[in-house]
């Protein structure tokens, strides 16, 4: 993994060439003319989808390119480096898409994946609620079975980004008795254009706004259930883990360090060099960790502890660099660069909270890895 083979390098060049095509450039340039806003990037994504840059590792029959997972990671890296806002990509392709591939029925895959791959439809992850953040066991959204074998979904999901314009949601809801915390939870694919779905924006200091979605007796069909009824919790744990390659956070850290570094220049004073040296090694280290996770996923090994470690390390690092970068560069900057760095500062606090708080990640690492370490130590 320390070394990209020639095949991967060739694919990277291909991706860069596709990203340099005029229709893509035009969409990217248009985005960057509106710094400090939360723009609709669906048109850009359609251009990406047309070029096969979204669902790189999905099988061709679901609209993908049939390439390896590591190729998909390379494409993700290049999208980030080109300045493609990543929320829709991460949610639609990396989380909901990958999860559908892993756990969806044939029917579900055939229905949902191709439009996601083309950048024509988009997906949200709907776990958190106003009253339950890290503690998903306390979620209160319910799906009540009806006579037709379907359910009626009611409750509120909150603090997602871009869910004002997504089309489907991967939603966790209670279907079983109210007693157990982890029993009786099921996962659904919900059509967000259905009657009874109400969306509202929650103002955030970050460029990307939060949204809340209220479900008011939304009708779900039998085919909307993902995995076994009342048996969603283990699946949810798995779904959470595949969010946690850390790669998207590592890429943010890299982008922000690059923006600050370019503004600071090679003649920066010793203190700046020291900080850049330290952050730079950490960024590259975070990438190594993310790739470890990805290599595991590519080989069908889901290492929950490693994934949590990667989310923890990459998220903390990106947050630290996001806070550091704008305060380190003094004096007026070119407008676009200033906008990137200021946005980083305002985005930073969310990075150690989203996709599992740093505390949750440490809890997972502690509970899964320390036993092994204690045994290793005793064997020495």
């Amino acid at each position: 993994m320390y070394w990209y083979g020639e095949e991967i390098r060739a694919y990277r060049r291909e991706v860069r060439a596709l990203l340099a095509e005029p229709p893509v450039r035009a969409e990217l340039d248009a985005l960057h003319e509106r710094p400090g806003t939360d723009p609709d990037v669906r048109a850009l994504y359609r251009e990406l989808g047309r070029r096969g840059l979204l669902a790189v590792n999905w099988p061709a029959r679901y609209g993908g390119e049939g390439r390896a997972l590591l190729d998909a990671a390379v494409a993700g890296e290049e999208l980030a480096r080109a300045g493609v806002p990543d929320t829709l990509y991460v949610n639609t392709v990396q989380i909901v898409g990958l999860f559908l591939l892993m756990a969806g029925s044939e029917q579900q895959k055939a229905t949902h994946l191709p439009p996601l791959a083309r950048g024509e439809r988009f997906a949200s992850v709907l776990y958190t609620e106003p009253g339950s953040g890290s503690d998903l066991g306390s979620l209160s959204t319910t799906a009540v079975a009806d006579e037709g074998g379907g359910w009626r979904l009611s409750g509120v999901k909150a603090f997602h980004m871009k869910s004002d314009l997504t089309d489907i949601g991967l939603c966790a809801a209670r279907t079983g008795p109210a007693g157990g915390r982890y029993d009786g939870i099921s996962l659904f694919i919900v059509d967000l254009h259905a009657p009874g779905v109400h969306r509202r924006t929650i103002g955030s200091i970050a460029d990307e706004q939060f949204h809340r979605i209220e479900f008011d007796e939304v009708q779900l069909a039998p085919g909307d259930l993902l995995g076994p009824e009342n048996g969603g919790w283990p699946l949810l744990t798995q779904a959470l883990a595949i969010e946690r390659t850390g790669l998207d956070y590592s890429l943010k850290a890299e982008n922000w360090l690059a923006a600050a570094g370019a503004a600071l220049g090679p003649d920066a004073d010793a203190a700046v060099c020291e900080e850049v040296g330290r952050y730079g090694a950490a960024v590259d280290g975070s990438r190594l960790l993310s790739w470890e996770v990805l290599e595991g996923l590519a080989a069908d090994r889901l290492d929950e502890s490693l994934a949590a470690a990667a989310k923890f390390y990459c998220g903390e690092l990106a947050a630290r660099i996001g806070r550091w970068a704008p305060t380190r560069v003094t004096g007026p900057l070119p407008e676009r660069r200033a906008a990137v760095l200021e946005a980083a500062y305002r985005e930073a606090p969310g990075l150690t909270v989203a996709a599992g708080t740093s505390e949750m990640m440490l809890e997972i690492v502690a509970s899964l890895a320390l036993d092994g370490l204690a045994k290793e130590a005793a064997a020495w």
């Binding site: 200091i205 305060t327 407008e335 909270v353 505390e359």
Partner: protein
């Protein structure tokens, strides 16, 4: 002023201000709708009604001469409520205007003391002034260069300018003056560009020690006030964090009952207490006429770092809601960005203070 009174002055002032400022804080708009100028207006009028601009001005300038004891109490309350810091610009401008004696800028001081002119400080974050002053006609001054300013056009700007003859002076730019302003929609400070615009020479208030060695005078006093403001920010953030961790439950327990949360809040509380004592000492020294330049550099650096650290913790505890209008946490986060380095980055301040200390240690070592 007499030192035993200081505590009383601080306490009554804080009490008196707190209620007025609570109103102002209640009227702050949530994230997404922030127009700094509009948001700052209620704060400023509350302060003017309380007579705050004159508290720390000399008696013969129409002030109450209550010293840093009073102005740092105001600053701390503002920071604690997460409110705009333009008050500190006014206090600094009064100090600077009076450096040349009570007469020269008397009219300006009168307007400042009366609260007619909110002032923001800009351009002090680096060791070198970004705006240069050449001579214009008569005693006027011709300005060139750029300045990052985070206030609207209704606010005067106090800024350092590099003089053609060497050295740095501080200038007060009246609203709508010599600059071409552009507002940055991203939330970054606006840019004021000076393309040779002319201001009257009388706007040069006094010399300013750019890249200085622990200055006292207007620059040193401004540092202590900024430190008090950031102490307030740290305290306000800590309060927000503790309160949230007390009210919010997870896995059936208040957040505060988790050891990692409790320990981090406790450590933050200790840091804030140490900062409080250090700021108090700096104020005491300055108001008592003792040397305080070294302490001014130290407390500003310490305050900036403590405020950043505590606000980081609070944002983490408050989670996604901390970024939204549901909790005030985001205010402290944004103020740390805006005010933490306004008068210089902590790293550079620590260097100033550290070099001073090493010199003293070498002297002591040589002596014995």
């Amino acid at each position: 002023m007499v030192s035993v009174e200081a505590d009383t002055v601080r306490r009554s002032l804080s009490r008196a201000l707190r209620e007025r400022l609570r109103d102002a804080a209640g009227r702050l708009p949530g994230p997404g709708a922030e127009d700094p100028a509009a948001a700052a207006a209620p704060t400023w009028s509350a302060l003017v009604r309380a007579g705050a601009p004159g508290l720390d001005a000399p008696l013969d300038a129409g002030g109450l001469e209550l010293g840093l004891t009073a102005s740092t109490a105001v600053a701390e309350e503002l920071g604690g409520a997460g409110l705009d810091a333009r008050y500190l610009g006014v206090a600094a401008a009064i100090d600077a205007a009076l450096e040349a004696g009570p007469v020269r800028h008397a009219a300006l001081v009168e307007r400042l003391v009366a609260g007619e002119l909110p002032v923001t400080q800009a351009g002090f974050e680096g060791a070198v002034a970004g705006v240069r002053a050449g001579s214009g006609a008569d005693d006027a001054v011709r300005l060139t260069g750029e300045l990052a300013v985070d206030a609207g056009p209704e606010t005067a700007v106090l800024a350092p300018v590099a003089l053609a003859g060497g050295g740095t002076a501080v200038v007060l730019l009246a609203p709508g003056g010599a600059a071409v302003a552009s507002r940055d929609p991203s939330g970054a400070p606006s840019r004021m560009t000076f393309e040779g615009g002319v201001v009257p020479g009388a706007r040069l208030l006094c010399a300013w020690p750019a890249g200085a060695d622990c200055p006292e005078g207007p620059a040193g006093r401004a540092r202590v006030r900024q430190a008090a403001y950031l102490l307030g920010v740290a305290r306000g953030a800590l309060h927000t964090g503790v309160r949230h961790a007390t009210e919010r439950h997870q896995f059936g327990r208040p957040l505060r009952d988790f050891q990692s949360v409790a320990f981090r809040l406790a450590a933050a509380h200790v840091e804030v207490e140490v900062l409080r004592l250090a700021v108090g000492r700096a104020v005491h020294l300055a108001d008592g006429g003792h040397p305080y330049g070294h302490r001014a550099a130290e407390v500003l650096a310490q305050a900036a770092e403590t405020a950043a650290e505590v606000s980081r913790l609070t944002m983490q505890l408050c989670g996604a809601r901390g970024l939204t209008g549901e909790l005030p946490a985001h205010r402290y986060h944004l103020l740390v960005r805006r005010e933490g380095g306004r008068l210089g980055r902590p790293g550079e301040l620590w260097r100033e203070a550290g070099r001073r200390r090493l010199t003293a240690l070498a002297r002591r070592d040589g002596a014995g």
